[in-house]
């Protein structure tokens, strides 16, 4: 009887430890996304397919597309992200990677390649873009979508938008090769479970 009780206690201890590890991982690493498939026009489908192929090719090369911002000490993997069921750009499934909007251009192509990253995690500490607000005009950003092919961008503007602002000028600026980095700013709105502002960094492609 006592032997069984002791076994139960040992089992509960392991269970508690597993819960503890899970809670830590869930709050500091894995991020919730509610990405879904939505009806898309043909041009978006083509772009999505192309960016998916790039990720698949990188996997075959045992490589992950990378975003590097030397001034902020950021060097992180780029995931592909789509659209949430609320019609917003989705986000990466963890707090350490960033997400490229796969239905837009690939970084380096003409148009606006948009990358989003979390500003903080479930316990309120800084995530990958926690210091993005400190970036300065003129700072350099590097994107490596394919192994050995590094593209350089230079920051040209730092803007703040309302969380529900029209996004046409962010996603559809097509007169050059832009890279747009987005993260949350401002204050949290509990009712809507989102921050009230978005920080948008615009960088333009330059020659290395």
């Amino acid at each position: 009887m006592k032997k069984n009780k002791f076994k139960i206690i040992i089992f509960l201890s392991f269970l508690a430890f597993a819960i503890f590890v899970y809670v830590i991982a869930r709050l500091t690493y894995y991020a919730k996304t509610d990405e879904i498939s939505v009806p898309l026009p043909e041009d978006k489908i083509v772009l999505g397919y192309k960016n998916t192929l790039i990720q698949e090719k990188a996997k075959l090369d045992n490589f992950s597309p990378l975003l590097t911002i030397p001034s902020l000490n950021i060097n992180t993997k780029i995931q592909n992200v789509g659209i949430t069921r609320r019609g917003n750009m989705s986000t990466p499934n963890n707090y350490v990677d960033v997400g490229l909007y796969k239905y837009g251009p690939t970084p380096g192509e003409k148009g606006s390649a948009v990358i989003a990253g979390h500003v903080d995690n479930g316990i309120g500490t800084k995530a990958v873009f926690g210091n993005l607000k400190n970036i300065k005009e003129g700072d350099q950003i590097y994107v490596e979508m394919e192994k050995g092919t590094k593209i350089q961008f230079v920051v040209v503007s730092i803007s703040t938008y309302d969380f529900d602002a029209p996004t046409n000028e962010i996603f559809n600026q097509n007169d050059n090769s832009y890279l747009k980095l987005i993260t949350c700013g401002g204050t949290w709105i509990p009712d809507l479970r989102t921050h009230d502002k978005r920080i948008v960094i615009t960088a333009v492609k330059s020659n290395i």
């Binding site: 819960i19 509610d34 500003v119 996004t167």
Partner: protein
Amino acid sequence: MFFKKYNFMNIKKFVSYLVVFVFVLAVSGFVASKTEAYVSFPVGCSSAIGNSISSGNPCNGTSVATQSVSGCASPIGTSTTSGANCSGTSVPMQYLGGCSSIYGYSFSTNAPCNGTSVASVFTYSSDTTSPGLPTTGASALSFGNMLLILSSGLFVLGAIVYTSRRAKKI
């Protein structure tokens, strides 16, 4: 031999740890749910119009319910005919509680965000050539989350102390 030395009081102690753990978890869960809940209208109401579907009381908080506004298909926005606020409030409702757009379902109530009985799915059209901005923060949930970590951590600590004491007695 070992189990003869086994002190039954320690099981009680351990169970008390467990009870505290469950209690703290419950409290943190309650706090987290309160943080996430959206209460701008009475229960069973998605606007100030009409009566609560759960209690039957007027949704405007008075004794007489406000009638639906003509020219409105949902509580969101203003009437297409009179320009009055469709929600029956002094400020037009931009989004329903727990919604950050008119698409999909509410975070808090799971009701369609367009204010009708069927949720809209985001589609590209001549008006929407780009998605909405992403949601990239989670810090507001941190208080409840910290309690979760603390409580599960305390429980693990209790378990370690208990098992190490048992090991010494072997």
